[in-house]
């Protein structure tokens, strides 16, 4: 038996298939994963992501600390409530975790990190925060509900008073606001608009029920994975980990090399990798029927000089319900061209190389 979120009993009562995820008993799906996926693209879905770990960092030098700790630069966060997606790196450049950092006040930032990396993240933070006099506090008193989809914001706002609802709908993309007991962030992991609500654990069941009563579909981790992959978003442990750096993981956009004098952990290693060149993460769309899966081998296309040579590996693959095709993220040698082969059970199958995301805001962004 694993850890349970405050919504566990609700998941069970809804008939959810429960799986272990990072030590937590979490809902995989409540029936049809495909229907849950489509509900999020067309209307709205609600996810229990309370297994994720909220960490509050406080202290006079907290901004300075995070500018040292994180590969992206929290100096970009000038308005309270604004947020930043970033990696936290080892000196080798390997990714300890990816996370969202929220700027609340000059003395208070909030991080949301992955469930599976919680222990090592907290240790790493504590070790590096001490010299800056920054205190690290895990907020296990909070639950997180992700409400995602084109109608998600309106349905969430409808639970609030008129004034609070207006505040909620006024939150800019990738920003957050405190609304009574809620910390409401316009962030997510689906490629749709929506909110992530951090709220006291004891309030989570009633908010869940109110939202599902408004037609927001209970959605499990299965659909969360197909949604994020369509959105071209990385999954820690699949698409990057401590042995891989952001530049070979499609995350160069999250590394702030400017200003040059900012000395963040991992900087030197990334500068070397950038100078030497490295693999890259690309999107793949399978041309024929079948399903792409992580760890399948990517081979050079028959039209290339060295047909059949191993040039990379799929890091995340799935059947895309929106495209009705198999899609994947793959780490390959830079410059592989427009077409590759993927070894599916010994059969080389043609796949097209595309630039993720595949789907955003309900729209297909690649040519089929």
């Amino acid at each position: 038996m694993g850890l349970k979120t405050p919504l566990y009993d609700i998941h069970v009562s809804l008939g959810a298939k429960i799986i272990d995820f990072g030590g937590w008993d979490m809902p995989l799906s409540y029936g049809s994963q495909l229907e849950e996926h489509r509900a999020v693209r067309r209307d709205s879905g609600i996810f229990d992501v309370s297994h994720m770990c909220v960490i509050d960092l406080t202290g006079a030098r907290v901004r300075e600390f995070l500018r040292h700790l994180l590969a992206n630069d929290v100096a970009k966060l000038t308005v309270p409530g604004s947020a930043l997606y970033t990696c936290m790196l080892l000196p080798s450049g390997g990714v300890i975790d990816d996370l969202i950092a929220y700027f609340l006040t000059e003395q208070w930032f909030r991080l949301v990190v992955n469930a599976g990396t919680r222990g090592k993240d907290l240790e790493w933070l504590a070790q590096h925060a001490a010299p800056f006099g920054v205190s690290v506090r895990e907020r296990s008193d909070l639950a997180i509900l992700a409400v995602q989809g084109p109608l998600a914001r309106a349905k969430t706002a409808s639970l609030l008073s008129a004034a609070n609802g207006e505040t909620a709908l006024g939150i800019a993309r990738f920003a957050a606001a405190a609304i009574d007991s809620w910390f409401l962030a316009r962030t997510g992991y689906t490629g749709e608009d929506g909110f992530e609500i951090m709220l006291p654990a004891e309030e989570a069941p009633s908010v869940w029920r109110s939202l599902t009563a408004r037609g927001v579909a209970p959605t499990g981790l299965g659909a969360r994975d197909t949604l994020r992959l369509e959105a071209g978003m990385n999954l820690y442990g699949n698409d990057m980990d401590e042995s891989r750096h952001p530049l070979e993981s499609g995350l160069a956009w999250t590394v702030a090399f400017e200003p040059k004098e900012r000395d963040f952990i991992g900087r030197a290693a990334l500068e070397r990798a950038r100078a030497q060149g490295c693999d890259e993460l690309v999107g793949l769309v399978l041309e024929e029927r079948g399903v792409l899966r992580s760890h399948q081998t990517v081979l050079a296309d028959s039209r290339a000089g060295e047909a059949g040579a191993r040039i990379g590996e799929i890091t995340s693959g799935t059947f895309s319900p929106t495209l009705n095709r198999a899609i994947a993220l793959a780490r390959v040698r830079r410059g592989v061209g427009a077409r590759v082969l993927v070894d599916i059970r010994g059969q080389p199958q043609a796949a097209r190389v595309v630039k993720p995301p595949f789907v955003r805001n309900g729209k297909v962004l690649i040519q089929l």
Binding site: L28, Q33, L34, R289, A326
Partner: protein, 131 residues
């Protein structure tokens, strides 16, 4: 969720079903329990007509959003038909695993007899015990 186990079929411990047809032929598919465990099916690969199967051999692949799973032939014999509808509608395996979601038909006449397989009650008990 209670799963359907029709009385007129026989079953394997790897969750295939066998339906006796006339003339020494059988129809083969996967059970309701199997489709339920796999979740939404999105791709099915069935053997070519004419292929000679050996009992216990991996002969088809069913893939859900979550995972790929092999289907093992319960019988030895020659494939005489395969369900071509599954190419476009793999979800038939979810909606009608014992009917429109059949996988293939096999002629047993040239092969030694296989089985016996599990009766419905035995399979239902097996699934229950396997949890």
């Amino acid at each position: 969720m209670s799963e359907h186990v029709p009385d007129d079929l026989q079953y394997t411990r790897t969750h295939e079903w066998v339906r006796a047809l006339a003339n020494g032929q059988v129809e083969i598919g996967i059970t309701d329990h199997a489709q339920e465990a796999l979740g939404d099916l999105v791709f099915v690969e069935v053997p070519q007509v004419g292929r000679e199967l050996k009992a216990g051999e991996a002969c088809a692949v069913v893939e859900s959003v979550k995972a790929a799973s092999d289907v093992y032939s319960p019988v030895s014999g020659r494939v005489i038909a395969r369900n071509e509808d599954l190419a476009q509608k793999p979800e038939l395996l979810n909606s009608d695993p014992y009917g429109a979601g059949w996988l293939m038909r096999v002629d047993l006449s040239s092969a030694p007899a296989d089985g016996p397989w599990l009766k419905a009650a035995e399979y239902a008990q097996y699934v229950k015990e396997a949890g």
